[in-house]
């Protein structure tokens, strides 16, 4: 039984020791290899989780800043405003109107009347007006949402200690009023309407210029261009342009549209020069700059969609005697359109979030009026975020976060439209 056949090693070879050693080496090694495999698998998984954590931290951080407690100090204490001793929130609108008339200048009163006549305002609107016009609150310090929810006592004691005359209110920075009001120096009144309108104007210009030219270039490169040297250069050039930093496009826009083509972009040659503009730093310049920026992306996406249209369609069309353009217009483009639109929307959403080129082209730092046309000064949502972020006060961080939410929601809508188009109309050949 010592030479058991169940142990084949004993029969196999004379140098038995050597083989056993090799075998055990192999087995050790195998375990080690598997261990290493598991360790690295965990590392790969952790890396992926890091990416997801980064995204969620970003979103949570921003949401965290959009609401929370704010310590507010008043120039004039609201409880001392009313002469009758009645608390402000129990007064009727007409009583509040009297207080307002006593405390603000005639000019200011007229401006307020022009915005919306006092008689038409509701009690709460009147109250807000009196608070903001007469008591003149300023935000001293703000706390983010999580701290506000879980550390209320601490916040209360800090606020009571540092700002004894002030109020502690729960402020939702992202509100209807924030979206609808124009820009202001006071974070309590500041809104993002001018910036949203500016962004929309700019995006319309971008679409008007980038879409037709981009699609035309894609059609040319895919359907018309021969394999000549010049066309290869164009193709390489487009690929390179797609990688040029956006700030370089801003410099091009500054030199070309703002300065070189100033008569055109300021509207001077159309005789409609806006006296407040006085140079080429207009919506038109900004739109054209961003159009150049996304043009390569639109072209490359367009090419891919056109390439995906099967050749049999073209051949069938030619077989029916159609000309090249008839084939392209009636068969290739309709079938490539969903892809082209999806690519364009994604490119436009990139333009929507661009900041650096617009800063370089010369976004206005402070405008409170809505843009009147393409020759107006401009600002956009990302520009506003940049300017508010750059301010040191707490409250501006909060409205920057609120503006970021607005921006992200707008981008999400654009992207959802792209996904919808892709799913609804895309065909597989």
């Amino acid at each position: 039984m010592t030479n058991s056949p169940s142990n084949p090693r004993n029969f196999s070879s004379p140098n038995d020791d050597d083989l056993t050693r090799k075998d055990s080496l192999f087995k050790d090694n195998l375990a080690q290899r598997h261990r290493r495999g598991i360790v690295w698998k965990v590392i790969f998984q952790i890396s992926t989780v890091i990416g997801i954590i980064a995204l969620s931290t970003l979103l949570i951080k921003i949401l965290n800043d959009t609401m929370g407690y704010a310590a507010i100090e008043y120039k004039k204490d609201p409880s001392t405003i009313s002469s009758s001793g009645l608390p402000l929130d129990e007064m009727t609108c007409s009583e509040l109107r009297v207080i307002l008339a006593e405390n603000v200048t005639k000019n200011r009163l007229r401006t307020i009347e022009r915005e919306k006549p006092m008689v038409e305002r509701s009690q709460s609107e009147c109250l807000d007006l009196v608070i903001s016009e007469v008591a003149e609150p300023t935000v001293k310090k703000t706390w983010p949402l999580f701290a506000s929810l879980f550390n209320y006592e601490e916040i209360q004691s800090i606020a009571a200690e540092e700002y004894p005359g002030g109020d502690l209110i729960f402020k939702v920075w992202l509100s209807r009023a924030f979206i609808l009001s124009p820009q202001s120096d006071d974070p309590l009144k500041a809104g993002i309407r001018t910036a949203i309108l500016g962004s929309i104007y700019i995006i319309i210009i971008v679409i008007i210029f980038a879409f037709p030219i981009g699609v035309a270039a894609a059609v040319y490169l895919e359907e018309y261009a021969s394999q000549s040297r010049i066309n290869q250069i164009i193709q390489t050039n487009i690929n390179n342009l797609a990688g040029v930093p956006s700030i370089i496009y801003g410099m091009l826009g500054l030199a070309l549209f703002v300065r070189y083509l100033e008569p055109l972009t300021s509207g001077a040659i159309f005789g409609s020069a806006d006296p407040t503009t006085a140079n080429g730093r207009t919506i038109l310049s900004a739109g054209l700059t961003l159009a150049l920026l996304i043009l390569p992306v639109v072209i490359i996406n367009g090419q891919e969609s056109i390439r995906a249209v099967p050749n049999s369609l073209r051949q069938a069309s030619y077989g029916m005697g159609a000309t090249k353009w008839q084939t392209v217009w009636s068969h290739v483009l309709p079938n490539a359109l969903p892809g082209i639109l999806t690519g364009t929307i994604l490119a436009v959403s990139r333009a929507f979030g661009e900041t650096a080129p617009l800063v370089v082209v010369g976004a206005a730092t402070f405008i409170t009026f809505d843009p009147e046309g393409i020759f107006s000064k401009f600002t956009s949502v990302p520009i506003q975020i940049y300017q508010w972020t750059a301010r040191p006060q707490d409250a501006f961080r909060n409205i920057a976060a609120a503006a970021i939410i607005v921006l992200l929601v707008l981008l999400l809508l654009l992207n959802a439209a792209a996904v919808f188009l892709r799913n609804r109309y895309s065909r597989r050949w």
């Binding site: 261009a225 700030i247 370089i248 972020t389």
Partner: protein, 319 residues
């Protein structure tokens, strides 16, 4: 003789010869106009490149020909102070390199690991969740990431390392957040490259007894190395050209330092800050921005060309 006879209509035939239509020479004016527009659109991209070179070059030339500027000082000087006419690009360049380096230290390892995980390990369901999330991260505007760097990453860093060592504006947090920005770019390009490696290679390696890790790192990654290299180079180019994160979080004011916890302005950050303020045209200050932009453009252009070359030349083509 025979052919000629055949083409003749038979005498006394009732069928008239149809009128000659020469399709090839029929000109359709509107199609020619349309084709002209298409060609113009195609060629426009060349004009854009020329425009960039021309306008950047012209203003930069004005800058370099100014008696107060010397080319040597521009490339070797360590002080950038336009107020006293000191134009040495090195402080701007070093901080650009520093932030990009930090960004790549974050983005390359994590990006590669994510790509390998998604391409080789993850089930289709997990891939379907993670890939779109990373695409969302890639689509977030850079100004938002700048806000994140300044209001989250910097306070976090300061609470760990102390307020004295970490300045409010510092290159490190800008670099890390820039890495987060570039991470999806690298991971998605790398994943595409890994995905293009044919399964027969993997199966061959598995058949020889390789573990999953060995297949991934010794077979699939080397086979896709050209795509990975291109992704990394493109990521570097993106990091160098990125403006808003560094403009917000890395600091205002050029600073010649290699300490990542200090504030230092990058090339892009400088352009954003100066052009965002009141700047008078045709001043030396204004022209100097174009000189910086030209340097930036040449850098990124070179990197993009290299990246494309690598893709084209070293791509392994599988049947």
């Amino acid at each position: 003789m025979y052919e000629a006879k055949n083409t003749q209509p038979p005498a006394g035939s009732l069928i008239d010869t149809p009128p000659e239509i020469d399709i090839s020479h029929r000109s359709r004016l509107h199609e020619q106009i349309i084709q002209g527009f298409l060609i113009f659109s195609g060629v426009l991209s060349i004009f854009v490149t020329f425009g960039i070179v021309l306008f950047l070059g012209r203003e930069a030339l004005l800058f370099f020909t100014d008696p107060q500027v010397s080319l040597l000082e521009f490339f070797t000087g360590t002080v950038w102070q336009p107020q006293i006419f000191r134009f040495g690009i090195l402080p701007l360049l070093t901080s650009t390199v520093m932030t990009s380096l930090i960004a790549m230290c974050v983005a390359i390892p994590v990006g590669l690991c994510v790509a390998i995980y998604l391409s080789e390990y993850a089930s289709p369901r997990i891939r379907g969740i993670i890939k779109p999330s990373l695409e969302i991260l890639a689509g977030i505007p850079t100004v938002v990431l700048g806000f994140f760097a300044l209001t989250f990453m910097t306070p976090l860093l300061r609470s760990i390392l102390g307020n004295e060592t970490v300045q409010i504006y510092n290159m490190f947090s800008a670099g890390v957040v820039m890495g987060i920005l570039i991470l999806p770019l690298i991971s998605s390009m790398t994943e595409d490259a890994l995905h293009a490696v044919p399964n027969s290679l993997r199966e061959g390696a598995f058949g020889l007894g390789a573990t999953k890790l060995e297949v991934s790192t010794q077979i699939v990654v080397p086979a896709a190395i050209s795509g990975i290299a291109a992704a990394i180079i493109l990521g570097i180019s993106r990091a160098i050209g990125e403006a808003m994160i560094v403009a917000i979080a890395a600091g205002a004011g050029p600073n010649f330092t290699f300490n990542p916890l200090e504030a230092a302005e990058t090339m892009t950050g400088h352009i954003v800050r100066i052009s965002g303020g009141d700047i008078s045209y045709d001043s030396l200050d204004y022209n100097s921005l174009f000189a910086i932009a030209l340097v930036l453009f040449l850098f990124t252009f070179l990197l993009n060309v290299i990246s494309q070359r690598i893709i084209r030349r070293y791509r392994e083509v599988y049947e």
